[in-house]
């Protein structure tokens, strides 16, 4: 399964994930104190350069990731115009764009494995209250491994559905998808137990 992140060796790829996430959280809080739209616009322009400093490809992919939310942001802006609050509408929309673009930037330049390592490190304090993190790591790995398998299975099932005459699959296809996955789950848990368990 392909992650969203880009492969690369830029400065952003080489800096530590923990550092990037800490910076992201800090900026996300600070951005709420900026109430000047010109300043926010400069932030947005700065982010364009930030993406471009990684590569042109990163800039393009960043734009693509923003596309679905542009519509939502437009809607929010229209509502604010209808209320006659032009300026606060612009500020909110710009702030949203900056936040989403920055968060996407961290995702684009961080490897999935590094993110997982950091995630499990963040979960470490759970050990103090008696929750083991090894099963969480196992579950994360299983989802990454099994999701493509399950997607393939769903495709096969809808193909055989269509082969039996119905052109469009409808919601009923979900039942066999779940049943095959439940059978898989039973077998996998037996297999894990047979190999010594968790």
């Amino acid at each position: 399964m392909l992650a969203i992140s880009l492969v690369g060796t830029s400065w952003a790829h080489n800096s530590r994930v923990g550092f990037k996430l800490a910076a992201l959280s800090l900026i996300s809080i600070l951005i709420f104190f900026i109430t000047n739209w010109i300043l926010l616009l400069f932030c947005l322009i700065g982010i364009v350069f930030l993406y471009y400093s990684v590569s042109f490809n990163a800039l393009r992919k960043g734009m693509n990731l923003l596309r679905p939310i542009v519509l939502v942001i437009g809607l929010i802006w229209i509502f604010h115009i209808l209320r006659g609050e032009y300026l606060s509408g612009i500020i909110i929309c710009l702030r949203l764009l900056v936040l989403v673009a920055l968060a996407n930037f961290v995702t684009l330049t961080s490897k999935l494995s590094d993110m997982m390592e950091l995630f499990l490190w963040i979960l470490n304090p759970l050990k103090l209250i008696g929750i083991k993190t090894a099963p969480i790591a196992l579950a994360l790995g299983m989802v990454i491994r099994f999701t493509p398998v399950l997607i393939e299975r769903a495709k096969q099932l809808s193909q055989s559905w269509r082969a039996r005459g119905l052109r469009y699959t409808n919601w009923r296809i979900i039942i066999p998808i779940f049943i095959t996955v439940i059978d898989d789950a039973d077998r996998v848990s037996e297999a894990i137990r047979a190999r010594g368990g968790v």
Binding site: A3, L96, A101, V106, S158, I174, S189
Partner: protein
């Protein structure tokens, strides 16, 4: 223990599968994504705790950078939009759905499933998503409802479908409905 972990993991994969499936065309021809149906089914089938954990696992992987949300979206950016209240509400929705499911065992399964989905995955979910949207987008209550209203008929339909689906699963794999399993 092993069974619980594997069920949680595979069901969180199923949420992804339902989001990535080609859009289901329903009776009326409205194409809707089935992702929130996946959240409902996690709660209904796995029960409160496991259902919520499956959803949390799914959201963690989205945050870590897998494009598992409907439309191939993912990454940290999806959690910073004003719509993210739905994502943060998903675990609670699954928990409440599963909790009601666990408490009502004497009625027919399809009715209980639809009922708990309506309470957990519509009322609880919107009770979290609407205030979040109001704050994030600086909208008032009425405007937020207006923006979200196109999704509500689809959500009600999904709750009803969830009842039929769980009924089908219950018929062929009664032991897999962990929320109703005898040994707890």
């Amino acid at each position: 223990m092993e069974k619980n972990i594997v069920y949680i993991a595979l069901f969180s994969g199923l949420i992804a599968v339902l989001g990535l499936l080609p859009k289901l065309t329903l009776v009326s021809g409205i194409p809707i994504t089935a992702q929130s149906l996946g959240v409902m089914l996690c709660g209904i089938i796995l029960g409160a705790k496991r259902g919520a954990l499956a959803v949390l696992l799914f959201l963690s992987l989205v945050a870590l950078g897998l494009p598992l949300l409907a439309g191939g979206r993912g990454g940290l950016g999806v959690f910073t939009t004003p719509w993210a209240g739905f994502l943060f509400g998903f675990p609670f929705a699954a928990f409440v759905t599963g909790y009601i499911m666990e408490r009502l065992r004497s009625l027919p399964i399809s009715i209980v499933a639809s009922f708990s989905a309506i309470i957990g995955s519509i009322f609880i979910l919107y009770a979290i998503a609407i205030p979040y949207y109001m704050i994030g987008a600086k909208m008032n209550f009425f405007q937020s409802i207006l923006t979200m209203s196109p999704f509500i008929p689809g959500d009600i339909l999904k709750c009803i479908l969830a009842g039929f689906i769980v009924n089908g699963i219950h018929k062929s794999r009664p032991n897999a409905i962990l929320s109703w399993a005898r040994t707890r």
